[in-house]
Amino acid sequence: MATAKEIVSFKDVAKIYRGRAAVTDVNITIKEGEFVCFIGTSGSGKTTTMRMINRMLEPTKGTIIFKGKNIKKYDPVKLRRTIGYVIQNNGLMPHMTIKDNITLVPKLLKWSQEKMDQKARELIKLAELPENYLDMFPAELSGGQQQRIGVVRALAADQDIILMDEPFGALDPITRDNLQDLVKHLQETLGKTIVFVTHDMDEALKLATHIVILDGGKVIQDDTPDNILQHPANNFVKNLLGEERLLQAQQDTLSVGDIMSKNPAHITLGKSLSEAIWEMSRHHVDSLLVTDDSKKLKGYIDLETINDHYAKDLSVSDIYANNLIKVRANSYLRDTSERILKQGYKYVPVVDSDNTLIGIVTRASLVNVVFDAIWGKDELENPEDANLPASITEGSEKA
């Protein structure tokens, strides 16, 4: 898996039909073993782009490199035999048995009969269908079964790369799900490169390791699913992804550092208790985080403890509690929020790798995340000002 080789690359490719550009300025690099989804609305040029790979369409401009060679240098017929091809309505030959269908490309390549028989049996197993289906005709199979054959047929001649043009568009959701699993499984176990055209974002996110978003014949974004979810290139991509998915993605990938309040109320070990009380009242909080002089987090001290042990000559270091949970700034919010919300902590201090206090996550900061999610980010440009006092005040209600 080390450094995967490029298998297909588009260089400034354009396709123009009668003066109308179907696809322009396409620059995509597909590496071996990738599961690439071309996604876009109809008319976005996704199918056009895909069909140029096996020369079903010829680019008007630009070059496409396949395995280090310009595709124009290949004989189109021979090229197509090395590229698997699956289309929406399965494209099985209705007058041929399943076996003949599966071994169509091997037959074109003039394999021996035994080798073809063996391949057919091997592939029907991959399709998770019984072997006696080999002698049936496509019309005798259900739509989902037909498409299973369509998928494994594309593997018959050990093609390294398979093009799929909305292969599951016509199937019901449950069958589609099963077939997606099948394709993903085949791709992972056999290490094939798959170029998959779809308009279904769920499908793309489920299957792809590399997503190319097209609109109006242009590539809008070309990245991994995670990066696209985290940094959608523009509003079109955001719409395509949908609010809900973006939110989920955000929750999944937001780190504690992204939402923590900086400069939490804290006090150093050497300070006296009266200074601690003064500090609390200044910040309107009922507890303080305790650090040493180099801002390393030591523990916390709260008003109740001070009340119980108050004596003039005691300092913070004598009575602070050190049974404190803390989180690292780079840990994921989803884990932290669970702790705070389910285990009833009022706040969790945030530290960096050498235990230096750098912030705090309170219930209020979590509320802000939800608030952002519902109302959009723009309204709270500067959350820090608003958060800090309020967040720690909240704790004081319980004291």
Partner: protein, 222 residues
């Protein structure tokens, strides 16, 4: 003889002229067959070509349609002016009449092959010729056969008229019957075998057509 019932006269004719009748029967069939065969040889490739260059399709089919509208007797006479009396004139007439159904059905059959199937055949790396004989022709064959079937039945009927230009065949008997006094048995002796030939040919080609039907297609409908 003439006072016998018609049926007896007919049986008498069959028993006494059996060999002659058989000869005319064979001649009649062959004239039709050759005409249709020629039409198939020309019409099927032309239809395939038309299906691939579809702007031509409508034009050629309208020409064939025009040919079809000429009454067969008129057509026969026109061709006679060119080829004179004899079998060839009839075969050419049959050819012209058979061209339309064969052409039309070939064209339709090829056009009706699911474009998805063709796309996937091409995408899997078939040459145009492989696509033709492995995909398009097998799928269009039953429609093409049905064109030949129509052509053949029509041809058998038209060949009977061919007797007017001296081509022989069962039409000969019919014409002689119409010219003779009390010629009813002669007419029947010509007409009945012609009808039987048409029916049997229709059945046989129908069976052939079934045989050529793409196997997988209709299974689920049964």
């Amino acid at each position: 003889m003439a006072n016998q019932p018609l049926w007896n006269q007919l049986v008498f004719y069959f028993t006494h002229n059996g060999m002659y009748l058989l000869e005319q029967f064979g001649r009649h069939f062959l004239i039709s067959f050759y005409g249709v065969l020629l039409a198939a040889i020309v019409g099927i490739p032309l239809g395939i070509y038309m299906a691939n260059h579809f702007h031509l399709g409508d034009f050629i089919i309208s020409i064939a349609n025009v040919i079809q509208t000429v009454p067969s007797l008129a057509m026969l006479s026109i061709i006679m002016l060119w080829l004179g009396l004899g079998v060839n004139t009839v075969i050419v007439t049959i050819f012209l009449y058979s061209l339309l159904p064969i052409l039309k059905n070939t064209y339709t059959g090829m056009k009706n092959v699911d474009p998805n199937t063709i796309d996937s055949a091409k995408g899997m790396g078939m040459t145009p010729f492989q696509m033709l004989y492995m995909v398009k022709l097998p799928l269009a064959m039953s429609v093409i056969m049905s064109g030949i079937r129509t052509a053949m039945v029509v041809a058998i009927g038209n060949t009977a008229i061919g007797a007017f230009v001296g081509a022989g065949g069962l039409g000969d008997l019919i014409i002689r019957g119409t010219n003779a006094t009390d010629g009813a048995p002669l007419i029947l002796a010509g007409a009945l075998p012609t009808a039987i030939m048409a029916i049997v040919t229709d059945l046989v080609i129908g069976l052939l057509q079934k045989h050529f039907e793409p196997t997988g297609y209709y299974k689920t409908e049964e």
